[in-house]
């Protein structure tokens, strides 16, 4: 029988260590993917993911359950990543242009695809903090603006605005990669 997140939390607080292990197994991959996309380093992502679960465990009693468990979990992970990145040295937004000339990602060979993925990852990593988090949570974790606003602790409007500008910035970055004129139908 599959227990809900809140049931597992209750069991953990009741002294059942297996319950917390189940929570870790349930979310470890998504947390790791999130931290990796934030910091772009496998080892650091693993450390930050482990630290996330440790903080979660230590904070379980303070968790008010006003949001879902995974929203709270993501919030802790994002905060840890942001702190880590700030300590490491905040990266400044640099507009990248003409970095690629391919137009159809689906026809690329493996090497080109990897190169393209590096370019995309790099472009996302260069976005300002809130824009970057908005894109990662929306595109790669499929979260709604409302869920992202809960995680970031800001309004839905702020999330929408940051996401909007992130896509506009990335659109400028990728403008040599995309050729919109080819498919106009009128």
């Amino acid at each position: 029988m599959k227990h809900s997140d809140f049931e597992l939390i209750d069991r953990t607080l009741g002294g059942n260590g297996d319950a917390f292990e189940e929570l870790v197994n349930r979310y470890k991959k998504s947390v790791y993917h999130l931290t990796y996309r934030m910091v772009h380093d496998y080892e650091d992502a693993a450390d930050l993911s482990q630290e996330t679960f440790l903080k979660v465990y230590q904070g379980l009693l303070k968790f008010k359950r006003k949001s879902s468990f995974h929203t709270w979990l993501y919030r802790i992970a994002v905060n840890l990543c942001i702190n880590y990145l700030r300590k490491k040295g905040n990266r400044q937004f640099v507009e990248l242009d003409n970095i690629h000339t391919v137009q159809q990602p689906e026809v690329l060979n493996k090497l080109e695809m990897e190169e393209l993925q590096d370019v995309v990852s790099h472009a996302v990593s260069q976005l300002p903090e809130k824009q970057r988090v908005s894109v990662i949570l929306r595109i790669y974790h499929g979260l709604s603006h409302k869920e992202i606003s809960d995680i970031l602790g800001c309004s839905v409007g702020t999330v929408k605005a940051n996401y909007f500008h992130a896509i506009r910035n990335l659109r400028k970055t990728f403008k040599s990669t995309i050729n919109p004129q080819e498919s106009f139908e009128s």
């Binding site: 870790v24 440790l54 919109p180």
Partner: protein, 207 residues
């Protein structure tokens, strides 16, 4: 529908999150407007490129096993989450609670004496902090400390004036009016107020 309004809703359109009527309006416009069609393709291309990058290098299965083992080891070594059942059990916990009670009693006596000594001094707090400004009238008052009354009313009632006199970096974006009014048009009054509150907090240090 004007090109400007269409382009402001382009991302929502590309993500299919608009309601049916709005989706259809944009679709019709895009079919007859070269500029918007190209803009849409660029946005769709950007979203596709981002999505094509969805997969990351997946660590081997052993990594995940070790991950759980490491986390659980750290958890066991860390301060426990204080199981509910054991909160009021054990002699050491009872002793700790007794100490807390004694401390609170002493603190209470001390506070009472201090208050009596300073009872002639009136301390008034006139500056409302943004954190207190949870109701609309308090927020209006807070806004009036940074902008003229007319403008604060405008900020609440219109979409454009909201970002007048704002530093473009405040929200980590180029907050020019032409790109923002479309976003704001979709917001409820409550959301606008929440955004205003954030802007107010950001501006306060420079006041």
């Amino acid at each position: 529908m004007k090109c400007k309004h269409v382009q402001q809703k382009m991302i929502d359109y590309a993500e299919h999150v608009l309601n049916g009527a709005a989706q259809q309006q944009i679709e019709q416009h895009v079919h007859t407007c070269r500029e918007c069609s190209q803009e849409l393709k660029a946005i769709q291309g950007t979203l596709e490129l981002l999505s094509s990058n969805a997969k990351i290098h997946e660590p081997p299965e052993q990594f995940w096993n070790d991950f759980t083992t490491d986390v659980m080891r750290k958890v066991r070594n860390a301060e426990p989450a204080a199981p509910v059942g054991s909160l009021f059990s054990g002699w050491h916990m009872r002793m700790a609670m007794a100490c807390v009670l004694v401390f609170m009693l002493l603190a209470g006596i001390y506070a009472y004496r201090v208050l009596r000594r300073s009872s002639s001094v009136m301390v008034t707090q006139t500056n409302e902090t943004p954190e207190d400004a949870t109701d609309p009238s308090a927020l209006d008052a807070a806004l009036q400390t940074i902008v003229p009354t007319e403008l604060s009313q405008d900020m609440l009632d219109t979409e454009f004036a909201l970002f007048d006199d704002m530093e473009s970096s405040a929200l980590e974006m180029d907050s020019n009016d032409t790109t923002l009014d479309g976003l704001l048009s979709g917001m409820s009054d409550e959301e606008k107020r929440a955004l205003l509150l954030e802007l107010y907090k950001m501006r306060k240090p420079s006041q």
